[in-house]
């Protein structure tokens, strides 16, 4: 217990008694997010506004107790897990839409607003919020900012950082600052850009100004079926090579398709080896031309069938398999471990081969879902953790796959973040000097390591409770893997 009675009282004084949780039963669910890491907080506090956030952070700093911000807890790298216990600062009460400006096409919201709600509100003005993580019904804007979240529709329009103009933050040291601007063109160093993707280690976003974009005139979704991943990958290169920038370009492999078919009945042919989803949008005439081009590319590379949808309901049907794919994997295996790596598009096929080789070596079937357009792979290792020793081997296999991505000139994460899960891999990508510089940036925001501790950067010591993932895994029990 790192939270003393004194701190508990201080927290209650700030936010009110009913907004501080400390009973063991109440804390339990705050020990995890969407992935495998676990650690119980000593208290969870729900501030209602910026001033309260600031006061909470200052109180914790005063008592030398770690703070971990939390949005909806859908994160996939343990970011919201209070690795060194202490206080979880949850944004669940901060879910007001403060302003929607249809002329400037911006919206100002509190961090706890769910991603989907932005698009729902914006729809009244013919606008939407572009980044659409598959978790968009639940995940918060604050969490999106922290993870620089992406989604299927980020290929053409960019990820969170391309859509957040500015924000108010309470820094790790407890200062209220405005980063970025209220309008489109910030000057000076882009501290906004530094904060986005910092995984909750620099401070807490308390207000976020986002850009809204017009709902396109025409949207056409193509679903192309192939015999194998190679032909589908070649098609991806051909589509991009032809100068098209689809709104979305997604791929699923055979194992994923079988799961999706079993769970969702999407009408995929039983022998399909890969499926590409290509979405094109814009002005009608332009889209029509692009559709012709994309279809040609698919046909040229051996598509066995191409389905086209223009109406929202039809399009939704084509997307159904993709959106539910990860969840559907639960139907063909008791557990799955979802990885998030990035490779240059040109190395996609080769990397896939490596992934297959590694997983076969370890004896795990693998299902692949990709944001193919930007080389973001999500291999899912299928396993049954009830078999002794499997968990450790799955982690090993995961590490080997991450290594392959890095060696192919890629990155450790496309969108789920480094968090606690992958911080030990950071030295593969960065020199000690790089890491030291990152630590200094953290220091600029007043974080000497106690604010959302043990995340992003490898920590030698001090993450005792979670020292080894294996330990956490053993404790996590069956199916703790997304």
């Amino acid at each position: 217990m790192t939270v003393s009675a004194g701190l508990l009282q201080a927290l209650r004084d700030v936010v009110g008694k009913e907004h501080v949780l400390h009973k063991p039963e109440d804390l339990l669910v705050y020990e995890l997010d969407g992935t495998i890491d676990r650690s119980l907080p000593d208290a969870v506090v729900f501030p209602g506004n910026t001033e309260e956030v600031q006061a909470v952070v200052r109180a914790c700093n005063g008592f030398d107790v770690p703070v971990t911000p939390r949005g909806a807890g859908t994160g996939l790298s343990g970011g919201a897990v209070p690795t060194r216990q202490g206080v979880v600062l949850a944004t669940a009460r901060m879910r007001r839409i403060l302003d929607v400006d249809p002329v400037e096409r911006t919206a100002t919201v509190e961090p706890g607003v769910p991603n989907i709600q932005l698009s729902e509100i914006a729809a009244e003005h013919g606008l939407f919020y572009a980044p659409d993580p598959s978790s968009q019904k639940a995940c918060t804007i604050g969490g999106n900012v922290a993870e620089n979240a992406g989604g299927p529709h980020c290929l053409a329009l960019g990820v969170t950082t391309n859509h957040v103009i500015g924000m108010e933050v309470v820094t790790a040291s407890g200062e209220v600052e405005w980063l970025g601007s209220h309008g489109p063109d910030p000057v000076g160093y882009d501290l906004r850009g530094v904060f986005i993707g910092s995984e909750g280690t620099l401070g807490i976003a308390t207000k976020v100004v986002v850009r809204l974009v017009p709902v396109p005139d025409t949207v056409v979704t193509l679903l192309a079926i192939f015999d194998d991943v190679e032909s589908a990958s070649e098609t991806v290169s051909a589509v991009i090579g032809a100068g098209l920038v689809p709104a979305a370009l997604e791929m699923m492999d055979r194992v994923t398709l079988q799961a999706a078919e079993a769970g969702l009945r999407c009408g995929y042919p039983p022998d399909a080896g890969a499926v590409l989803l290509i979405e094109l949008d814009g002005i009608e005439e332009v889209v029509r031309g692009q559709v012709t081009q994309a279809r040609a590319a698919c046909n040229e590379h051996g598509a066995t069938e191409i389905r086209t949808a223009t109406e929202p309901a039809e399009r939704e049907l084509l997307w159904k398999g993709r959106k539910g794919a990860i969840g559907a994997l639960g139907r063909i295996a008791p557990n799955y471990y979802l990885l998030d790596g990035v490779v240059p598009r040109s190395r996609l096929v080769e990397t896939m081969g490596e992934v297959a080789r590694i997983s076969e070596g370890y004896g795990f079937p693998v299902a692949n879902v990709f944001h193919a357009g930007d080389g973001n792979l999500h291999p899912c290792l299928l396993f049954d953790e009830r078999e002794p020793g499997t968990t450790a081997r799955v982690l090993e296999a995961g590490a080997a796959i991450m290594r392959v991505c890095v060696e192919a000139g890629g990155a450790l994460t496309g969108e789920h973040g480094v968090g606690f899960e992958k911080n030990r891999f950071m030295p593969w990508l960065y020199s000690e000097t790089d890491l030291e510089n990152m630590r200094r940036v953290r220091g600029v925001f007043g974080n000497e390591g106690a604010f959302n501790p043990c995340k992003v950067l490898p920590e030698g010591t001090g993450c005792g409770e979670m020292a080894h993932q294996q330990g956490a895994l053993a404790a996590a029990g069956p199916d703790a893997y997304v």
Binding site: L21, L28, A480
Partner: protein, 420 residues
């Protein structure tokens, strides 16, 4: 902290299945669909939180404490979470079984549970007792005394009775199943409270079924479906009631069993699951479940000559129709086909109204919050008619209409379709 501090947990029989619990990958995708999370913002009042607690108790990480019980009991069992869960977590089943565990030794409110159990077993499940008890209620609902009491304002001080009064519409004559086996080919399920207080909806259902070309009948001897008991964790009683209904409907000879109450329909479609462990009934339960069809689901597949209903209609999904049975388009399509009607979509039409069986009596505060949300929507959209497909919800909407201060009729889907 061993679970042995709570004698009896986990019960060998009817404990949440560890395989069911393990299906939850705590992705959190369900939390925003959950009404109690929407109101409280607390993960302990969310599906993920409740499952996590059930798992922690099952794994003996924590004892079954009063706080845990409280979080489970605040659950409406509306199953909105189940409908959006990509992993296919059978939340409804988990929660029924979690509640069954409270029987062994509830950490608190033991007498309340016993009283509730007594009422469910000895009143709701016994048609004659229920009829005798509800006759005066029906009389009161239409008597001048009621207006007097309302105007005097004393109802505000009568706690649960006052809340019940606010939910009471103007019940017509009861509709009690009296037909013999073989009197038709489509059997109507009439239920418990529904046949006493919503006789009009049953009569309307019969007429609409006939208009669609069916030969409908209500076989005698049927009774409560058992849903209320199951939700309360009294699975033994739920099974008894299920077995009785299975026998009745087998004898009726009907190919199809039409259910016009969402909660009953959902429960009956799951009879197979409920009785899976009973070798004598398992197959028969499966067979019965396969014959159960919701009223709107049945009509969607038939040629119903369009009726007529003037005005703006706001359809409100019943949770156990939309979430448990996945039926939300059919009722809207049927209503949309009515001449003279304009269907209005209100925000949160598919979110629980807070009635949730006997929930509104046990958790008045949360139930009131949810009702207020509906009332706010009604105030904004001013519908002329509010339509739903479950008796409990109908009662809650009567209260919400009054709270909104608007003049709107609350109808069962069958009554809306019955107008010509």
């Amino acid at each position: 902290m061993a679970a042995s501090e709570t004698p009896g947990w986990p019960l060998a029989e009817d404990a949440p299945d560890t395989a069911d619990l393990a299906k939850c990958v705590h992705c959190g995708l369900c939390v925003n669909a959950c009404p109690t999370y929407a109101i409280t913002g607390l993960e302990v009042e969310s599906p993920r939180g409740r499952i996590h607690l059930a798992r922690a108790v099952a794994e003996e990480r924590i004892p079954l404490t009063e706080a845990v019980q409280g979080h489970w009991e605040l659950c409406l069992q509306c199953r909105a979470c189940e409908a959006v869960c990509p992993s296919g977590v059978p939340y409804g089943r988990i929660m029924e079984r979690a509640r069954a565990q409270l029987d062994a030794a509830p950490p608190s409110k033991g007498w309340e549970r016993r009283l509730r159990r007594f009422a469910l077993r000895n009143v709701i499940a016994r048609p004659r007792v229920l009829a005798a008890l509800l006759a005066p209620v029906r009389w009161f609902a239409r008597s001048p005394l009621r207006g007097l009491l309302r105007r005097s304002g004393v109802l505000r001080f009568t706690g649960p009775l006052g809340r019940l009064e606010a939910q009471l519409g103007r019940p017509g004559r009861p509709y009690r199943p009296r037909d013999n086996a073989g009197d038709g080919d489509v059997a109507l399920f009439t239920g418990c409270v529904m046949s006493e207080l919503f006789g009009d909806a049953h009569r309307a259902s019969m007429r609409v079924l006939e208009r669609s070309g069916a030969r409908a009948f209500a076989p005698r001897g049927q009774g409560c479906c058992g849903a209320l008991s199951a939700h309360d964790g009294d699975l033994a009683q739920a099974r008894r009631l299920a077995r009785a209904n299975i026998a009745t409907f087998e004898a009726s000879g009907a190919e199809t069993i039409v259910v016009n109450s969402a909660g009953c329909g959902a429960a009956m479609k799951e009879y197979g699951e409920l009785l899976a462990g009973d070798p004598d009934s398992a197959d028969r339960a499966e067979a019965m479940a396969a014959r159960v069809i919701d009223f709107s689901e049945y009509l969607a597949g038939r040629d119903l000559p369009a009726g007529r209903l003037e005005g703006r209609i706001a359809y409100q999904d019943a949770c156990h129709l939309a979430h448990a049975q996945g039926i939300s388009a059919e009722p809207r399509a049927l209503l949309g086909a009515l001449d003279g009607c304009e269907l209005v979509e209100t925000e949160g039409a598919d979110m629980c109204c807070g009635a949730a069986g006997i929930y509104s009596l046990i958790q008045p505060a949360m139930s009131g919050e949810l009702r207020a949300r509906k009332a706010a929507q009604f105030r904004e959209h001013k519908p002329d008619v509010i339509v739903t497909a479950n008796p409990g919800c109908q009662m809650q909407y009567e209260a919400a209409v009054r709270e909104a201060g608007i003049e709107a009729r609350v109808l069962h889907l069958a009554e809306a379709l019955d107008s010509e």
